[in-house]
């Protein structure tokens, strides 16, 4: 149902087609001024940003939309737990997010004649699956915040571009100041992205399993936090009789 709604929602097309394509073109223009060894960032970066954009915000945005449409109380009161409904919505947004790689990789190939050359296929595939799982974990842990606080949308939206930097989607995290690298180390997508770029020929070494393991472990912590937050949302909604606590 969520996917059906997305097909007719212009914002979905912005998320998987327009936005990643613009960022990819920008990335390709900027990174093509540097050495060819950075091309993996230019090719995958736009797609990763589009994929992340849909995953990061859409779970929560769906809750925000339910609130604005006056249907949040109804989905809370229905027999299906809110978490299950949100999982469906996030799965749908992740599916559309995957489409982001089509326009960006095509633009890199057709206009800039760039393609991924030194891909280690199995680590690449595993890293990508882990990355998707980490995106899911972030999305599901942020979603209850939208039900708890009206201002969550503004806060999370405001930090979206910052997450591109902290997760190393278009340049290595090592580029950032040390204190930001410390922040980045607790972000599961940052480890999965590192593994993905290492599998794409970037000179990070071959510790794929360590990075993927870290990404999965941190994602599991996110899932635990999410579970606690959903319980809190449910409990407080029943006590106070309202969903927007603050």
């Amino acid at each position: 149902m969520s996917s059906k709604v997305r097909v007719i929602t212009p914002f979905t097309y912005l998320g998987w087609l327009v936005y990643p394509l613009i960022i990819a073109i920008l990335g390709l223009l900027i990174l093509s001024q540097g050495s060819a060894s950075k091309s993996a960032y230019a090719i995958l970066g736009g797609g990763l940003i589009g994929f992340w954009g849909l995953a990061y915000q859409e779970g929560g945005n769906e809750i925000q939309n339910e609130r604005w449409s006056g249907t949040l109380e109804q989905i809370m009161a229905c027999p299906t737990p809110l978490a299950v409904i949100v999982v469906g919505k996030i799965a749908s947004s992740l599916t559309f997010g995957l489409l982001s790689f089509i326009p960006t990789v095509l633009a890199a190939y057709l206009v800039w004649h760039m393609s991924l050359r030194n891909v280690d296929p199995i680590p690449f595939l595993v890293s990508f699956v882990v990355l998707t799982f980490s995106f899911f974990a972030v999305a599901i842990s942020l979603a209850p915040l939208y039900a708890m606080w009206r201002w969550s949308n503004a806060l999370i939206n405001g930090f979206e571009i910052g997450m591109f930097a902290l997760c190393g989607f278009m340049f290595p995290v090592a580029q950032l100041p040390h204190w930001l690298q410390a922040v980045s180390s607790v972000l599961a997508p940052a480890w999965a992205t590192r593994s993905l770029y290492a599998a794409s020929g970037q000179p990070y070494g071959h510790d794929y399993w360590l990075w993927c393991g870290l990404a999965i472990a941190i994602s599991c912590v996110y899932l635990l936090i999410s579970w606690a937050l959903f319980r809190l949302v449910d409990k407080r909604a029943r006590i106070t009789g309202q969903l927007a606590f603050v």
Partner: protein, 196 residues
Amino acid sequence: MRPVAIFIRSCWFQYIAMFNWATPIGYLSYKFLFPVSQILFFTELGTFATGRSNALYFALGNALQLTAINGVFGVISTVGNERQYGTLPILLASPANRLVTFLGRAFIHVLDGMVAVALGLVVAIVMFRIDVTHANLALFAICVVTISLSTAGLGLMFGSLSLILRDVFVIANTVYYLLLVFCGINIAVSSLPAWA
């Protein structure tokens, strides 16, 4: 004084009500978190590609582009949200002068856009140790006012599309990010392909 007072009060209420900035956290998010994020990301991307010596270009460009948060998102929201909330027919049927009403909507965004640039500059100076001691401040100020006015003009132009489009915020997002590509913010206009 009364018409002026009404104009100012009307500008203010439209500003806080139509841009979803009614809470301080929302305002701080767009005024602090978003600018820091944008300057950090694009400056680090630029320096990754071209070296630390070019940090000034990327940081300054993105600081100036922050006027578009107000000029594009803000002004388009003040028009587009009327349609989304179902109040556009009432607004259009009211006896209020439309030119004054819509210019009033852009007015505070022009001022606030300039505040955004000032904040962005502080962020750029602190984060990337940019030296602005040799800057021509008067000329810089004129540029900031011009950019703020022109982005508000863009906002009004694209905001008017909400009369015929259901979801004008897709346009707002697209315009905002296209500015990053085509206005010399991250790539010198002379370095763009000929078609661009």
